[in-house]
Symmetry: C2
Subunit: 357 residues, 2 copies
């Protein structure tokens, strides 16, 4: 495959010097883009779009055609795994993801298959095709949900605000909870290794719901499995390159020390964390990715530019061993004007070089 | 008024030695209690219950009749203030609080009245009556929402998951945002002083939504106003006693240093925070209140007892200047079996004395 023309993102993840702060956006291929909505309409429902190699490739590349981003991220969904494990994923209009067969008993957990890569071949096909089309312009990020995050959807049956079923399981039957997480860690490890094999040059683990746990439960039921997955990844490639791993726990601000020791190369930060303080705390061990409040993209453009400057200043001048990837603290929302996303990225490009002298 | 027979809670807040760890529950007078549901049915809607002095007193005392709690908390709602400011609070069945006239323009903010204590007399009447009926058995906690938290409801018009309107205001028109928060800080200060005058012996400021802000915005738009309020409180009473102030920001885990310096006597912790780490970080400046995951009350009783022991051990043996008040990390939920709440409180009573030797 083609050599990388822009390796700024990989270098920053490995805490090597770069000329400017690389930038990408979580959910950059998404509903805020009119061209995405058009392709999505062609595909029918969301899951059909994920499973259609050509269309998934098309939407992955859409934001790169608009903006000078430093990375592409595979267009897919974290719930492909539970779907492949037989839970029957569907998207009810306006209600988010749902499962036809949520896990409602220990027996259901015991019976869950873990040899499911065959049913996820469409993801690897998309990775391969995206790599081909990217032709080395920027690196491609593969991704997964964390076992804890996947488990919450699988037990709750969909989105939740309250996490009652999963917490009843966690506190009431921790053995079954661990069995489920163990199975998911195996599947996730296989899944990420297959994505790497297919061409993913970076992988990110999204722990969207780790933040609803207590400190102790987070370590036991979420971070331990993220660590286990990372240990099992084939990140050292035959060509001598390394596939950096980003661990992102939304709401993980109180646990940065522990997260920074999970084996990841970079820690994703949500916007509640002070970037400068996080650098002082863990910046000598890992690169940091983030962390602008996505809501700021709804504000006037001068406010966006101001905030970009504030965050660049907060991380400060880059020295040896530093690494920062600019991003939002969570996914870009559907109501953002693409011009505001453009202004955000332009501001990072304009103001960051002076921090890399 | 009667002298306090049980001052364990006040002493712990002031970091003075106590014989056991005091305990109360956020939302202890609430829907999980059948006797509450009965009184509530008598009152009609929720707001009528808040405004009925006798019934508000009755429900305040219900959990104390069941459990050996170390404090009572005024039965009321944080949204009494915006209601008194003219926004027209109502509770739509199953939808939570709503306002008839949410703030939708800068002019609406400019026109907001701040001299509204007269319309909140029913709260002071309830405080007085509860104090009389308590007859010094345990201290009475008064409370308020923080200006930021009140503002989110006032601008969004009710509950929200996304905080889009308030963040548009914050980032798009910070001057109007500050004007609103300034007005609310004045009203909240008056309101808490009136509660203290009427007999509240402790006050808690609930910053339920501070955690949705970035670090910098939290300091500027939430904590600064909490600090301003505390500076304006008449906490030194003519009889020589002090009214301790508890500051509770849900999701405030990443900002504990700043919160501990806002002038409060105690910091409320949600369950994402490691209690032992928080003690090491700020426990020499403030008492700590919290912080069991409310979901644990849905687990079997032995799990609840286990968790109480774990948290007591996490805080550790009490020495000079230590102070811990046991509580949940957020309000008790309506689906908790009162027997589980009883087991929780009993466990604190049973296991905590050995940490106060």
């Amino acid at each position: 495959m083609a050599a990388l023309k822009n390796d700024r993102f990989i270098k920053a993840l490995l805490r090597q010097p770069v000329d400017e702060t690389p930038v990408w956006l979580m959910r950059q291929a998404g509903r805020y883009l009119p061209e995405y909505r058009e392709t999505r309409a062609k595909a029918g429902d969301f899951l059909s779009l994920c499973k259609n190699t050509e269309l998934a490739t098309e939407v992955t590349l859409q934001p790169l055609a608009r903006f000078p981003l430093d990375a592409a991220i595979l267009f897919s969904d974290i719930l492909t795994i539970p779907d492949a494990m037989g839970l029957g994923l569907y998207f009810a209009e306006g209600e988010g993801p749902k499962f036809e067969r949520p896990l409602s008993s220990q027996a259901a957990i015991e019976n869950l298959p873990i040899d499911v890569l065959g049913d996820l071949q469409y993801v690897m096909d998309a990775v391969s095709m995206i790599r081909q089309v990217l032709d080395g312009s920027v690196p491609l990020i593969g991704f997964t949900g964390s076992p804890w995050t996947l488990a919450t959807y699988m037990v709750e049956g969909g989105s939740t605000r309250e996490f009652k079923k999963i917490k009843r399981l966690l506190y009431g039957n921790p053995i079954a909870m661990h069995l489920l997480l163990d199975k998911l860690a195996i599947v996730v490890t296989d899944y990420l290794n297959a994505q790497i094999e297919a061409g993913a040059q970076v992988v990110q683990i999204f722990d969207t719901w780790g933040g609803v746990l207590s400190h102790a439960s987070y370590l036991e039921f979420s971070l331990a499995y993220i660590q286990k997955i990372i240990q099992g990844l084939n990140t050292d490639r035959p060509d001598g390159s390394v596939v950096p791993v980003i661990a992102f726990t939304k709401g993980g601000g109180p646990w940065l020390d522990a997260i920074s020791e999970c084996g990841c190369h970079a820690v994703g930060l949500d916007w509640t964390v002070d970037l400068g303080a996080a650098k002082a705390q863990i910046g000598n061990k890992v690169a940091l990715q983030g962390n602008m409040d996505p809501s700021i993209l709804l504000a006037p453009i001068p406010v966006i530019e101001q905030e970009v400057k504030r965050l660049l200043t907060s991380y400060g001048q880059h020295g040896p061993g530093d690494g920062h990837i600019f991003n939002l603290g969570h996914g870009i929302t559907p109501d953002v004007d693409p011009e505001h996303a453009a202004a955000f990225i332009a501001a990072v490009k304009k103001f960051s070089p002076s921090y890399h002298l």
